[in-house]
Symmetry: C2
Subunit: 334 residues, 2 copies
């Protein structure tokens, strides 16, 4: 594993797709049986971890968007406001979506490059649920899922990566092509993955069938290590070939983020990406890099409104974002 993995990998996620035996998949299930799943799953979880149950039928728009911005639930779940639900632990490392595409989607999300630990964590959750619910399972095919792309292990291992070097030097496409030959998918976390999206990309396995869980994780790890190495090389090339322009862009990003009076989400994402790059190069010193990472979630619209404790319209939100981001970054020091 590359030594500087933490400079590139933001978080690791394992998702297991599961369905309840003998009832139709969520897209065809419109009765009481759907609403019972959430309760059954919730009851199956060990008392050791404290879970909250969120029903999409009565969650507020802000609270729903807060969870989505934290990548704990999907837009699809939020839209299934009849039977959709989410069960999330206190530390937000486990999120179980109920009646999204499948009846049950168990997810574990950990900071950094931690797929194996994430798998162990969600495997334990899966064991608890399996003890109470009989999953749709075929001895030959494995776990049965709503979409055939998840058939078999039902496992998706995905890693959120910060790829400014490959993006700016325009080497991302060739890197994506290389890992797609290893059955990996790369997509932008926020939109298309442009600089306005903070150069954040999700890399995950495409194949779930005919391979074991550990083989999937192993192959994703191999791909990620390759991307990490390529990204770090690209960052060196970038600095060597565009030193003045790059340093200027980084330092101005810090200057604007710590002083702006109003700040949109897009601009925040774009500038913060350069600040993170500045931290990597040692041009900017922050006392707590995890706090900087957390700020990216906090500065999203719904999370920001949640933090403010007020109703804010779009213009007020941009003012609040500028003040909140400025204060947080100034405290993190340079």
């Amino acid at each position: 594993m590359s030594q500087n993995t933490d400079d590139v990998v933001i978080s690791s996620r394992i998702r297991l797709a599961r369905n309840v035996n003998d009832i139709p998949f969520p897209s065809r299930l419109n009765d009481e049986r759907a609403s019972l799943i959430a309760r059954k799953v919730y009851d199956s979880l060990q008392a050791g971890d404290s879970y909250d149950l969120y029903k999409m039928s009565n969650i507020s728009e802000i609270d729903g968007n807060v969870l989505m911005e934290k990548h704990l639930i999907s837009a699809d779940l939020l839209n299934n406001n009849q039977f959709g639900a989410a069960i999330i632990n206190e530390s937000e490392t486990v999120s179980i979506m109920i009646n999204e595409e499948d009846h049950i989607r168990e997810q574990s999300i950990l900071k950094g490059f931690n797929l194996k630990e994430a798998y162990e964590k969600i495997n334990a959750v899966d064991d608890c649920i399996a003890a109470r619910i009989r999953f749709a399972f075929d001895p030959r095919l494995g776990y049965l899922t709503s979409c055939p792309t998840n058939l078999g292990t039902g496992l998706r291992a995905s890693v959120m990566m910060f790829l400014p070097g490959l993006s700016i030097t325009k080497n991302l496409d060739s890197c994506v092509n290389a890992v797609s030959r290893l059955n990996m998918t790369v997509r932008g976390v926020y939109g298309e993955g442009s600089d306005a999206d903070g150069f954040l990309y999700q890399v995950s396995n495409q194949k779930t069938l005919g391979v074991s869980e550990s083989e999937i994780i192993q192959s994703v790890e191999t791909s990620i290590n390759h991307i990490v190495d390529t990204e770090l090389r690209a960052r060196e090339v970038l600095l060597r070939n565009n030193e003045t322009e790059l340093k200027d862009r980084i330092m101005r990003a810090w200057g604007v983020l710590t002083n702006a009076y109003t700040l949109s989400t897009d601009e925040f994402m774009r500038l913060t990406a350069f600040v993170k790059l500045g931290v990597y190069y040692g041009l900017i010193r922050v006392s707590d890099r995890a706090r900087l990472e957390k700020l990216i979630t906090e500065a999203q619209p719904a999370n920001l409104i949640n933090i403010s404790g007020k109703q804010l319209d779009a213009a007020e939100r941009d003012l609040y974002r500028a003040a909140y981001v400025g204060k947080t970054l100034r405290n993190l020091g340079k």
Copy 2:
């Protein structure tokens, strides 16, 4: 006089145009007699103030541009490298140009709105010179000058003004029209007076003939007071109508100036103008406003090279400017 004159008026200048009797004006003078003028004027000055004599024939390009950027000499003087000279006192409040358009142009430059004091100062200098040199003078017309626009008193009273309010609200033209009816001229100090020129304007009298020195100064003062009042009203309107945009622009200007890695003269001028406006509005606090004003001269190309003590090419100068400006402003505090 308006109370907040110092927020608008940067400096006051009185210039007296004088010529030596019985020798041709500089444009037609190409012999020994031209080179004698500088020495004669230099010798006439009282020992109380310490003067330096700079001959354009042997001043370095950098040193010549340093004086020009400080507004102590003109481009025309710098171009007359055969007989041109400047005699400047230590505090740089008096500069006498020799063989520019006229044989002798005596100037006194003081900070703030101080035309009367500037006139007294240059009048004393003029008395010293007049004691040794017989000026070209006609009892009916007054002092004879190379260009008829300076005939009579030979006096130009000019004031450097910072006019962001009138410029941004696009009310400068009507203000210029109003004062031109009072025989005043308004022009950009650096180029056309756009934001890249720091919103700096020079306001001066057009008429030199048929009026007394004190009448000229009085009429310039009246015009300046009018412009100051108009400018301050424009600043209030600007803030009221564009609060978010203006505050954002001001705070970002501070953020960029205190953090940029490279900085051109144009961008420095543009951003510094907004910082000054921020100081006026109380959004930015600086411990020493005169130091901020001085920085505007220091950041000009030749002055910057002079301060660095090094040969800097254009790219190196922009790096040095960013570092120098950033350090100075951070020290001035917010």
